[in-house]
Amino acid sequence: MALLEINNLSIAVASQGQLLPVVTDCSFSVAAHETLGVVGESGCGKSLTALAIMGLLEGSQVNITSGSIVFDGRDLLQLRPAQRRAIMGNQMAMVFQEPMTSLNPVYRIGEQITEVLQQHRKITHRESRQRALELLDLVKIPHPQDRIDSYPHQLSGGQRQRVMIAIAMACEPALLIADEPTTALDVTVQKEVLDLMLDLQTRTGTSIILISHDLGVIAETCDEVAVMYRGRIIEKATTASLFANMAHPYTRGLLASIPTIDTDNDWLQAIPGRVPGIDEKVNGCPFHPRCAHTETPCTQTAPRLIDTHPHHAVRCHFAGEI
């Protein structure tokens, strides 16, 4: 059985008295010890899906309108807030995109790590500090003994993200959600942080949902991939199958927009146009205004997710033909 199963999840944002859908009918699952990549341009609903799984949409203008999120056999949406909080930071943890602002500037990093331990474990102050030192060592912060009493502003962006990972891994969660964990970092640091996460995964066996707009990162790290566009999954496959049988024009567009050094292309191919705003209505296939292969059915009916290969589904009228 999968560790996490998302079934028909729909999310909408309340705006001026109406509900605008931002994620529609989204289903996927993550097996234990596996890594799922979620990829798409900004504004396609990746982060909101992650926040929904984590339980961080409470109290915002964004609401889950239907579907279920089954984690470890329990539907998270049916749990009481206290039960939900017992899972947050404990069996399920999250690393955010902005390491510069994700730590509280007024507390020392040691305090911010031990806080989550003391929330979920029966543990003395001394033990939790010892564990925090181990965690800092684990995320390869040099001289943890000196660093544990630093304030966030005394650390570099890469180090702060390592601290965020230490906080997330503190209770050895079964699932780690990483929302663009390296986007805000220097290129040289990006690789180190990704390697660190994969290294921690092999040690602890945690499952990871890695959200990224970069297919290259996904290709290197993930077992399975879900491609999202305008709140829908438009292609879903194992990483191997995705790159072997890439079917959706949008996925191909994403791949073509990655710069490579071994081709002779002088320019990058960008996907024309932009993601329409959530208040704009598009009939038929949501991608058709930007698609090079648009034909009559595309503008009229929305395509369904169709299996084209084993473990490979595509939401396109011409899947496998183009």
Partner: protein, 315 residues
């Protein structure tokens, strides 16, 4: 820390100098000759002339200022025209009342303003928030003296719970129980200021709650109340502390009115009465001391600010 404090104390000097010049000029801006103003209408020309010479009024203005300022530095603010005693003694007589009133007022502000602000921000957008933040704004819209008059009417005249005016010293008979004289005044004075604090705490907490680190705290599975207090309020306190200097200034303004309404023998009423009596040395002295107090409080606020925000380093 010590070095910074000394440096800041040094920067107070030019401000104080400018303030003292303004305060000194104030008496000289009054239409008419200071000596005749000081002596009143019944003075003879000889008396005026002799006082003028005694005060050095025949000398250039800048020399007069230096003499006055030198005296001030020695703690000599001159003689009160009305009381015929040194200004500093007159002020000292009102200090106890004003300090007790200020402390009791601060007690109410912190006890009521901060928790209500936290509740208001924590239930942002709900009816609780609308009532508390709207109520705070209404409270801040009430003239202090009007509130004081009706509190007297209801709780002193009507119910007889508290005395309506005056304040015997706590060293007199009755001891600390004399503080009951200050309950209505301190509530009157606290009302608009607590309302300001409620609005301030609420606005700063709403600002902080949109920051990314609050999401991190929630992702740890902490109880919402814990997130509110430990993470949101603690960070909002930085902005609240920064605005504290302004609260002090507002407090002094309203203390003047409150002490008058409740006939309290404090410095605030002393100012009003001195202005009505044209007792200029007292006005000068009190205002100089209040400005000094304001500057010192702002220095303390800056020091507290650095304690509250580790990103600020005192250099």
């Amino acid at each position: 820390m010590l070095g910074y404090t000394l440096k800041r104390l040094l920067t107070l000097i030019p401000t104080l100098l400018v303030a003292s010049i303004l305060i000194f000029l104030f008496v000289h801006l009054i239409p008419g000759d200071p000596a005749s103003i000081l002596l009143g209408d019944s003075a003879t020309p000889e008396e005026i002339a002799s006082l003028s010479a005694h005060m050095g009024l025949d000398r250039p203005l800048w020399q007069q200022y230096l003499v006055w300022f030198k005296n001030v530095l020695h703690g000599d603010f001159g003689q009160s025209i009305f009381f015929k005693t040194p200004v500093l003694e007159v002020i000292a007589d009102g200090a106890e009342t004003s300090i007790c009133l200020a402390l009791m007022t601060m007690f109410w502000i912190v006890l009521i303003g901060i928790p209500v602000g936290i509740v208001s921000a924590s239930f942002h957008g709900s009816w609780v928030d609308q009532i508390t933040s709207g109520g705070a704004m209404l409270l801040a819209s009430i003239p202090t003296f009007w509130l004081g008059l009706y509190l007297i009417l209801i709780f002193s005249v009507g119910l007889g719970w508290f005395p309506s005016s005056g304040f015997p010293s706590i060293s007199d008979e009755g001891g600390l129980s004399n503080l009951r004289y200050l309950i209505l005044p301190s509530l009157t004075l606290a009302a608009p200021n607590a309302a300001l604090i409620v609005r301030l705490v609420r606005a700063s907490m709403l600002d902080v709650s949109r920051e990314d680190h609050v999401r991190t705290a929630r992702a740890k599975g902490l109880h919402p109340a814990r997130v509110s207090i430990k993470h949101v309020f603690r960070n909002a306190l930085i902005a609240v502390a920064a605005a504290f200097g302004f609260t002090f200034a507002a407090l002094v303004s309203e203390a003047v009115v409150t002490e008058t309404v409740f006939s309290l023998p404090g410095i605030g009423r002393l100012v009003v009465q001195s202005i009505l009596r044209r007792d200029y040395p007292v006005i000068q002295g009190v205002i100089l001391l209040i400005v000094l107090l304001y500057l010192v409080i702002n220095l303390l606020v800056d020091l507290a600010y650095a304690r509250l925000d580790p990103r600020v380093s005192l250099q």
